[in-house]
């Protein structure tokens, strides 16, 4: 016990000495607690839980760094082992060394011996020699400075005639390419980035299609000369792109971010030297929402739609893109091929969450985020999971599929939801000709193309191995084809001859002999016909469900988990009824002979070929490869054509129309259907409004009464 007390004292002594240090040392936490739960999107754009790829390792502010509290800092830049923080409110640049200790502060900017005051600087670009470009935003200029802050040159608003005069020049972000061309983003400016020559003279606009811009500007000028000033003001506001930020990689590709885009697509672009976006991931594994960066799931809540609004982007040395979402305060990290790797961050008062994140930088694979409201920096480091994913992605991007496999397996150990890992393993298995094994992985990884390739190999092997069985089945099928019709007819006749005689009126018979079949229907009036017709529509309904749910993996672009049976019911029974009602109404007007029941029966019968073709193509799609996809389409097209033909003949026969009468009738019916739909939608929304009103009123009454 004596020892314990002794030792306690010594600990107390140690901790007391250290206590003084602690106050100034950055506060790091011993273990990873992440105040956000990781997720990733599956191929359907649905979020799935995932381990976090990054954890907040450290938080630094001006006070703990010994530089004095930051005030509304606005930009970050990492170059040559130094981290530059643009501390706007204090008009200074704070420079930290590689270990995040204060190195120096640049707070005097001198031009020809005269000190220049900054006004709300918001962007900077640091060159490798430490000299830098600084957007002195509210002074409407860009300063080109030496490392010590001495100003070499000042860039101002271009005087070129293609530059719109009436827009204020508030430069917010700046970069420079290897040739020394300077690109500037100007606030509220929609013509792309402003590009200067190395000598500081205006060059052009960058990042929007030049031709379009010129045409548009001509158009603008034309209108401006015609319209009064007040109206023309609105015209210049009708413009597409406003970049929020950009970054440039070692090969002079410029990565841009946008706060808002049309359809919420292409929020991130990778522009080549002529300003064309080459980051189009048409070949991505996403079934839906290709090129949708940031959150794919959105909600509308209290009148606001949650959608990512990127405010900064940084490209790591390994080509990883980390983009900062100003709306949700989250960071989205993508690999070179725009596969989402991790999402982390959020809103809040905890380490790793932000209030107004404004800038992001990567240092190796570490990420630093600047928060202009918390006035601090947060350092994120990859978790174990994050490190493995980074390694796997590097192998994969370098084409070393085999080397990536152990990494993918290590990933699956930690995250069984991780689709790219299944893809990676599947591809490697296929490479080793283990096609059958690869199918499961490629399906889980939503790699339809590789799956299709493996499927073809598996199919070929299957045919090879089962040649005799397939041969026997083939012969039987051939015989059926030759004599089957006769047998079926015998069967059907035996069943139905007792009460109906030789009339051709079952859907299958009508399908094969539409004209005579419909003629028979027109003349008979039996309950069994109605029953059969309902069964045909029911078959159509079932075929639609099957087509949606059971189409082979390669071709199925519907998420089986989002089946809406009511929608499919409406699309089959609803349309059939709608058609019948509309057609009956129109036909009655023009003295058609068809009764409602007859029109229903002939219309329903007409659906049969389509329904059958759907079933055939659905079954076939499970053993069909990509290349044979057109076959499936042809089957369905034949079905549709056949159905349309039957429908037309049916309507014509049952109403005893001439050809041209029938054509007009069909067109009128379609218009009638549209009208009915319109009325239903109108009524539906009225009812909905009423319901909301009633529920609100009820809530008010209940809750306001104390």
């Amino acid at each position: 016990m004596e020892g314990t007390r002794h030792m306690k004292k010594s600990i107390a002594a140690v901790s007391l000495v250290l206590f003084v240090l602690v106050v100034f040392a950055s506060s790091a936490s011993a273990t990873n607690f992440e105040p956000y739960s990781g997720y990733n999107y599956n191929a359907w754009g649905t979020s799935m839980s995932a381990p976090n790829g990054y954890w907040p390792a450290d938080m630094m502010d001006g006070t703990t760094l010994g530089a004095g509290m930051f005030s509304n800092p606005s930009d970050l830049f990492y170059r040559e082992g130094e981290l530059y923080i643009l501390d706007s409110g204090n008009s200074r640049i704070v420079v930290l060394d590689g270990t995040f200790k204060l190195s120096r502060v640049i707070d005097t900017f001198i031009m020809a011996g005269e000190k220049q005051e900054l006004l709300n600087p918001t962007g900077m670009y640091i060159r490798s020699d430490g000299s830098f470009l600084l957007c002195d935003t509210d002074n409407e200029r860009i300063l080109d400075c030496k490392a010590d802050g001495e100003i070499k040159n000042i860039l101002t608003k271009p005087t070129d005639e293609i530059y719109p005069e009436n827009i204020a020049f508030h430069p917010t972000k700046v970069i420079e390419d290897t040739a020394g061309n300077i690109y500037v983003i100007v606030a509220d400016f929609y013509y792309g980035a402003v590009c200067y020559n190395p000598n500081g003279t205006f060059n052009s606009f960058f990042g929007s299609n030049r031709v379009e811009i010129t045409a548009k500007m001509l158009f603008d000028r034309l209108w401006k000369s015609i319209l009064p000033a007040q109206t023309s003001k609105y015209i210049s506001n009708y413009v597409p792109v406003n970049y929020s930020n950009f970054d440039i990689d070692a090969e002079d590709f410029i990565f841009t971010t946008t706060r808002q885009t049309k359809n919420s697509l292409d929020e991130i672009k990778k522009l080549n030297n002529v300003g064309i976006n080459i980051l189009r991931s048409e070949s991505s594994y996403d079934t839906l929402n290709k090129n949708d960066y940031g959150d794919k799931e959105r909600i509308r809540y209290k009148g606001e739609t949650s959608d990512s609004q990127f405010t900064d982007i940084d490209i790591s040395d390994d080509g990883l893109m980390s983009a900062l979402d100003f709306n949700s305060n989250k960071i989205f990290q993508y690999d070179e091929e725009s596969n989402l790797l991790f999402v982390f961050g959020g809103k809040g008062d905890q380490k790793g969450l932000f209030k107004r994140p404004i800038a992001i930088e990567t240092i190796g694979n570490d990420i630093i985020v600047l928060d202009s409201e918390k006035n601090n920096l947060t350092l994120f480091k990859p978790t174990e999971f994050g490190k493995i994913v980074h390694r796997a992605v590097k192998f994969y991007v370098d084409g070393e599929f085999g080397n990536a496999v152990p990494e993918w397996q290590a990933i699956l150990k930690l995250d069984s939801n991780y689709e790219p890992a299944y893809r990676g393993i599947g591809k490697a298995l296929a490479e080793q000709q283990q096609y059958k094994e690869s199918l499961k992985y490629l399906k889980l990884g939503y790699d339809r193309e590789s799956y299709s390739n493996s499927l073809r190999r598996v199919r070929t092997d299957f045919i090879k191995d089962n040649l005799i069985v397939i041969g026997v089945i083939g012969i039987v099928a051939f015989l059926l084809l030759l004599y089957g019709k006769k047998w079926v007819r015998l069967l059907l006749h035996n069943r139905t001859s007792a009460d109906s005689g030789p009339d051709e009126e079952t859907p299958f018979q009508v399908m094969l002999h539409p004209i005579s079949g419909y003629d028979t229907i027109r003349r008979t009036n039996r309950f069994s016909l109605l029953l059969l017709s309902i069964m045909v529509v029911a078959l159509w309904f079932v075929a639609s469900i099957l087509q949606r749910q059971e189409t082979g993996f390669v071709f199925n672009m519907n998420n089986p988990l989002q089946l809406n049976i009511m929608l499919l019911f409406t699309k089959t029974f609803g349309i059939a009824i709608l058609w019948t009602v509309s057609n009956w109404g129109i036909s009655t007007l023009v003295n058609g002979e068809g009764s409602f029941k007859r029109i229903w029966i002939v219309s329903s019968y007409a659906i049969l070929p389509y329904a059958v073709s759907m079933i055939i193509s659905t079954i076939a799609s499970n053993v069909t490869t990509y290349e044979e996809g057109s076959l499936l389409r042809i089957i369905v097209y034949i079905g549709i054509a056949w159905s349309l033909f039957m429908l037309f003949i049916g309507i014509k026969e049952v109403n005893q129309f001439t050809f041209s009468q029938a054509v007009v009738n069909v067109l009128m019916t379609l218009i009638g259907m549209l009208l009915v739909v319109f009325v239903i939608v109108l009524f539906g929304s009225l009812v909905q409004q009423l319901m909301i009103f009633i529920s609100t009123l009820y809530n008010e009454l209940i809750l306001r009464s104390n």
Binding site: G3, S29, S47, L703
Partner: protein
């Protein structure tokens, strides 16, 4: 006048701790007559160790420790104030109580403080109590009156408010109180820290320069699900232990919220945030409120209406006990020791039989109903993750790998859990092997010396059935809606899918014994209660109101009568006593911006009396860090395993169990078990008695035999008394070594 005060203030010889006074009965007045106000400190009560001095003019008081001579001041007084602050920032410091009021007519919520709201407006009346005094604060402007009792005992000080004695004005109601907000607060000159029990426990240093960040404010035992949210709040670690503390220079106190803890919150602030003081204090919610959104929540034309439940007292008695610690005890380890003494847990003999090694805790997951497309239709189909036979297989394999001590829990093992119905009686899932299978598993495990704990979770109920009707048996919110817990989308943070319905506390309490008896029939002696030890909610249903405190009591009573061994997952302090072992003890705080570093307070309280583990290793995914954490805190390791491919969890509510494949993890689990137990054997103990931070990311923990371990979580090597502590490594330090260095 002075003589009146002194004569009525008899020196007490009672040796009760502060928690004794007023636990069953509220303090009684010595006399109905109020004391005349005198603007100076006069001794008002005395015990063997402490004297209480009171200024009857403004209810400022201080406690003097006769042993050490230390004094603890109730608040800043005009004597100690430097006069830097004006207005509310100043009046807050001068106050003994903050009162939140709600005006029914205007709908406004206002906080009034005792100094400017009552004392300065001559609203204070003081009465004497046996060991202290009662200050009755009348707030003339709002027209409310709040009495507060202050008493001393031999261990320290108690402060309490009886909400039943609060007098509301017709339209103005007291909805919350904060007691002694600046008691023992530290100034800019003082050195020390605030201890808050956030998660495992956390330290906020005095004057840490983080004044630009938000204050700390958090509910004890987490927020109440009855106050439902459309959007998910950030991921936090709840307060599990109702205490806080301040270390100020060489002294410290531990404050224990001894009554009304389930309706209490803990606040903390550093200098520069409100004024120049660093302080932590407790506040209590007196009336519950609900924020109801009226209108279509999708559109902007909504209105938030705050509705209070003024008919019931959420907190039936608010009490905080302050225990004073000095010298070597004056740190967070000392606070933990004090709380441990107060809890006085009876050590679990069989669990702590081997003090130098810890068992491996394995949680198995049975099966679930998964919605999937089958022949064109979406149907719920049962998916088996681990059958009873496979469960035995996993345990056997681990035994073969040399893991001698295993404790096994089994989640989602019954058909009701998979179906998400109320678990009225235990019904083994037929798909996993049925009653026969589970009995065989139990026998097999017993033969291997492994005890089986099957899970019981009445909070995962999404369907009617087994006699439970969601509309009838669910607790109600203030608005009359059923109390539910939603799942939230990680991306939008918006509620998602069918919520789980929380049965009324009474319903749960009356059904637990039935369930436990049904377990007897299949011979299972252990129960895993994943959430019963940490979810508390208020049932606002008319005619059967249950506060969180009342729920806590009925749940604890119900558990007491079960006669089962019970394992909780990360439970609150009030069930520590009922636990055989604790899974997933919090290993960090919530990392609020204001916090400087985390401390293993939770573990220090339990160590030696209860076995506990770190959070699940394989779902956190970092085995190195997990092992270090286990060593630092004397924790066992805990893994969650399934036998079949966990890819089955995809597209289900359980998709967070993405790292549970037993085939890939078992070797790691066995190796980690051996590794940490070898080190514990080297240390010679698993019972930790104190902890300290050496530097950033380097911690030292001392065990009960005097040996210690230094753990370095950082990426760089560190040094301790001349010895290298490798990066992401540890150093076992015998007591001799450190004595030499000393």
């Amino acid at each position: 006048m002075l003589s009146i005060l002194l004569s009525s203030c008899s020196v007490s010889n009672s040796n009760g701790s502060p928690s004794d006074s007023g636990l069953d009965t509220n303090p009684q007045l010595m006399s109905d007559q109020a004391v005349e106000p005198i603007d100076s400190f006069v001794k008002c009560a005395s015990t063997d160790r402490f004297d209480l001095f009171l200024n009857t003019a403004n209810a400022d008081f201080y406690v003097e420790d006769k042993k050490t001579g230390t004094t603890w001041q109730s608040n800043i007084t005009s004597n100690t104030d430097k006069g830097t602050f004006k207005g509310l920032a100043k009046f807050k410091m001068y106050s003994q109580i903050f009162v939140d009021t709600y005006d029914k007519v205007t709908g406004q919520i206002t906080t009034v403080v005792s100094s400017s709201g009552s004392v300065n407006k001559e609203g204070l009346t003081i009465f004497l109590l046996k060991d202290g005094f009662r200050a009755v604060y009348n707030f003339p402007v709002s027209g409310i009156t709040v009495p507060m009792d202050v008493t001393i005992g031999n261990d320290g000080l108690s402060v309490s408010v009886d909400p039943a004695q609060i007098v509301d004005k017709e339209d103005v109601h007291v909805v919350g109180v904060s007691l002694l907000p600046y008691f023992g607060s530290g100034s800019m000159e003082d050195q020390g820290y605030l201890f808050i029990p956030d998660g495992s426990g956390a330290i906020i240093n005095f004057n840490n320069g983080k004044s630009a960040y938000s204050r700390y404010s958090s509910y004890v035992y987490g927020s109440d699900p009855a106050y439902y949210e459309d959007k998910r709040p950030p991921v936090v670690q709840n307060i599990k232990i109702p205490v806080f503390g301040i270390k100020k220079n060489d002294n410290a106190f531990l404050a224990v919220i001894s009554r009304g803890d389930a309706s209490a919150g803990i606040d903390a602030e550093v200098s520069g945030q409100v004024n120049d003081q660093n302080t932590a204090f407790a506040s209590f919610v007196v009336h519950g409120k609900e924020n109801v959104v009226i209108g279509n929540t999708m559109e902007g034309n909504t209105q938030d209406v705050i509705k209070y439940d003024l008919a019931h007292l959420l907190c039936d008695y608010c009490k905080v006990d302050y225990f004073f610690l000095d010298k070597e005890e004056a740190d967070y380890s000392g606070m933990a020791k004090k709380y441990k003494d107060l809890l006085d847990l009876e050590p679990q003999q069989d669990e702590v039989s081997n003090p130098v090694s810890l068992p491996l805790y394995i949680d198995l997951f049975g099966g679930l109903e998964k919605n999937e497309s089958f022949l064109g239709l979406l149907t719920d189909r049962y998916k088996m993750l681990t059958s009873y036979e496979q469960a035995a297989n996993i345990i056997e394999t681990l035994k073969d790998k040399g893991v001698e001590q295993i404790v096994s829990t089994y989640t989602n093992w019954s058909s009701d859990e998979a179906n998400e119905k109320y678990p009225r009686i235990s019904r083994p899932a037929g798909q996993l092997g049925g009653t026969k299978g589970i009995t065989e598993l139990n026998v097999k495990l017993k033969a291997m010396g492994v005890q089986l704990y099957t899970s019981y979770d009445p909070f995962n109920v999404r369907k009617d059935g087994n006699g439970f009707l969601r509309m009838l048996n669910t607790a109600k919110r203030i608005s009359g809606q059923p109390t539910t817990i939603f799942d939230y989308k990680s991306s939008t943070l918006y509620k998602n899918g069918q919520p789980s319905y929380l049965a009324s506390p009474q319903y749960i309490a009356s059904h637990i014994p039935v369930y436990a008896r049904s377990l007897d029939r299949i011979g299972i002696e252990g129960m895993l209660l994943p959430d019963l030890g940490n979810i508390l909610y208020t049932d606002f249903r008319k005619g059967r109101f249950y506060s969180r405190d009342a729920m806590k009591d009925v749940i604890v009573d119900a558990i007491d009568g079960l006669g089962k061994n019970i394992i909780f997952v990360s439970p609150n302090a009030y069930v520590f006593d009922r636990a055989t072992a604790i899974l997933g003890a919090p290993s960090t705080s919530s990392n609020y911006d204001l916090i400087d570093y985390d401390v293993p307070f939770y573990q220090l309280v339990l160590s030696g009396d209860r076995r506990y583990t770190i959070p699940c290793v394989n779902t956190t995914g970092n085995i190195v860090m997990s092992k270090l954490k286990a060593l630092e805190t004397g924790s066992g390791l805990y893994f969650q395993f399934v036998y079949n491919d966990p890819v089955l969890f995809m597209d289900t509510r359980y998709d967070r169990l993405y790292g549970t494949n037993s085939q890939t993890w078992m070797d790691d689990a066995a190796a980690a078990y051996h590794e940490i137990n070898d080190i514990f054997a080297q240390i010679g103990s698993t019972t930790i008695v104190s902890s300290n931070r050496v530097e950033d990311d380097v911690y030292i923990t001392v065990f009960d035999n005097g040996n210690a371990i230094v753990v370095n979580y950082s990426d760089t090597d560190s040094e301790y008394f001349g010895k290298i502590v490798p990066a992401r490594g540890y150093l076992v330090s015998g007591k001799e070594n450190r004595s030499d260095a000393d």
